[in-house]
């Protein structure tokens, strides 16, 4: 059998590929930066369509996705629980609207709750180490490296959006996601609006996971954005607006 130039090069190419591909392939997914551009916005916000959400009673997909994405522990003892996105009754979420004679549609139904990423966040004002701060695009960030666990922010947040790690969370995480660090005993945590996903051009995990299309994420500063149009066409409320925190999670009712 004779090997001509062409066949030789083909073989050589295959051989190189066989040697290099596993190495490059394995590492490319991680070391190299993602190909997608980061999502950029001026005022990120979330719009929750309660009616759409209630079409899937008992659904926990958004909460499960968040737990998986961010290694949020499932601690059975409610005194120690850690919450990023969770449910509570309408009456608890909107105490001012909780009269039994109003909202008969909604009264007994659950409401999805998460950090409101306030425009005027009280948690940020009280943090002594700047472990939490508001980014220019509106995300209220946490820098877990700086959190000293003083819990002032927990006291300041009127929405109960922040949790303290009273116990080591690791035993309560079913499958560890190596791409997002856990937290330790002694630090505070909360929803980060999937800031690490936005950096890779991906929308928040809860929004992606929702089978009902009940969660809408977008830039309110952009008049063309779907979230802005939803707010223009439908009636929306925010939690405890009278406190002046300017929450940026809107509920279509």
């Amino acid at each position: 059998m004779t090997v001509d130039r062409r066949a030789f090069f083909k073989l050589a190419g295959l051989a190189v590929a066989a040697v290099e591909l596993p190495v490059l392939g394995a590492a490319r997914a991680h070391v190299d930066p993602p190909e997608e551009q980061p999502l950029k916005g001026r005022r990120w916000a979330m719009v929750v369509d309660l009616a759409a959400c209630h079409r899937y009673p008992g659904c926990t997909r958004c909460m499960d996705a968040c737990r998986r994405e961010h290694n949020v522990p499932s601690i059975p003892d409610r005194k120690h629980e850690v919450k990023w996105i969770w449910e509570d009754s309408f009456g608890h979420a909107f105490p001012a609207q909780g009269s039994p004679y109003l909202d008969s549609e909604l009264a007994g139904k659950p409401v999805l709750l998460l950090c409101n990423h306030c425009d005027n966040p009280p948690c940020v004002r009280v943090c002594p180490t700047q472990a939490t701060w508001k980014r220019e695009d509106g995300v209220v960030m946490m820098d877990w490296h700086r959190c000293i666990g003083c819990r002032y922010c927990i006291a300041a947040c009127p929405y109960g959006s922040r949790s303290f790690n009273w116990v080591d969370p690791r035993p309560y995480i079913k499958t560890l996601n190596p791409d997002f660090p856990t937290r330790t005993k002694g630090v505070v945590e909360k929803c980060n609006l999937c800031e690490e996903r936005l950096a890779e051009g991906r929308i928040p995990a809860c929004v992606e996971a929702c089978p009902a299309g009940a969660l809408h994420f977008g830039d309110l500063a952009d008049p063309e954005s779907p979230v802005r149009q939803l707010l223009e066409s439908r009636f929306a409320v925010r939690r405890k607006p009278g406190l002046g925190t300017q929450p940026q999670v809107y509920y279509l009712v």
């Binding site: 290099e20 490059l24 070391v31 993602p34 660090p181 950096a199």
Partner: protein, 128 residues
């Protein structure tokens, strides 16, 4: 000189005692070896020249941490033009895949215990 003999004998004994650690380890044949590190296969270079990495990777990591988390600047361009994620687990451990036989070996030798792994999850090679 008074008591020259006693003083000299005393000095000799003193010197012997003071140098115990040195001659003792020679006598016992104890040997200190630099740790054997497993370097990544199929990779030419680190994110900084090797000498700089050895000396300053802890400071580099602190910078990466602040740039990535606080300034949203998550991509680094190396001196030879490669783009790398600023990530402890995805980059450092993306190339140095066996933490046990690289980071930990050297850290055990120099007796440092970074607390990063209390939170950051090493893909494999275990915690600590």
């Amino acid at each position: 000189m008074y008591d020259a003999g006693k003083i000299l004998a005393g000095l000799v004994i003193f010197l012997l005692l003071v140098t115990t650690p040195v001659w003792w380890s020679f006598a016992m044949g104890a040997e200190v070896r630099a740790p054997k590190l497993v370097l990544p296969e199929g990779r030419r270079a680190c994110v900084l020249p090797t000498g700089e990495m050895k000396a300053t990777h802890m400071e580099l990591l602190n910078r990466w941490r602040d740039l990535a988390v606080r300034h949203g600047d998550r991509v680094m361009t190396t001196w030879d033009g490669r783009k790398v994620r600023r990530s402890l687990t995805q980059s450092c451990l993306g190339c140095h895949t066996d933490k046990d036989k690289f980071c930990d070996r050297c850290h055990d030798y120099v007796a440092v215990t970074p607390y990063c792994w209390d939170c950051h999850v090493a893909p494999r090679g275990g915690a600590s």
